[in-house]
Symmetry: C2
Subunit: 96 residues, 2 copies
Amino acid sequence: MSNEQLDLLRDKLDEVNLKLLELINERAQLVQEIGQLKSKQGVNRFDPVRERNMLNHIAENNKGPFETSTLQHIFKEIFKASLELQEDDNRKALLV
Amino acid sequence: MSNEQLDLLRDKLDEVNLKLLELINERAQLVQEIGQLKSKQGVNRFDPVRERNMLNHIAENNKGPFETSTLQHIFKEIFKASLELQEDDNRKALLV
């Protein structure tokens, strides 16, 4: 009986993982578009003020159970990966 | 004109951030429930095989633009934070 419950929760977790995967990639696409736009405008890609604002926004909207510091750590990893993606795009654009 | 475009993309990014925040916390809740169930069954919380399966599932379903290795790195951070949350719950339960 309990194992059925465990399987059910695990199925739900797998669903959430796939939704997260989709959303993280959707976010990456948006960041790529922003990078391309900034590149055209000759603006620097990394904007620490914007990053700080996004982290504050996360803090304001966190209803738990994760601590805000934990979430901000996870989001910083996503930001870092996104910046690397923009840099890769830029490198490829320079090679064309 | 271009700044309007930038603002629009940033608004979309903020929306995606909030959805991610919600989903990461929803995932944390599920992990807490799984932890409670495992605790009742006297089963170890950390299951490396299950974690490996989740990472494989992510690899199989990744449509980009992020590389699978990048996504797996982000998910490992989420897994680690989730395990810490379960450990906190367990510590609190032992104190009751």
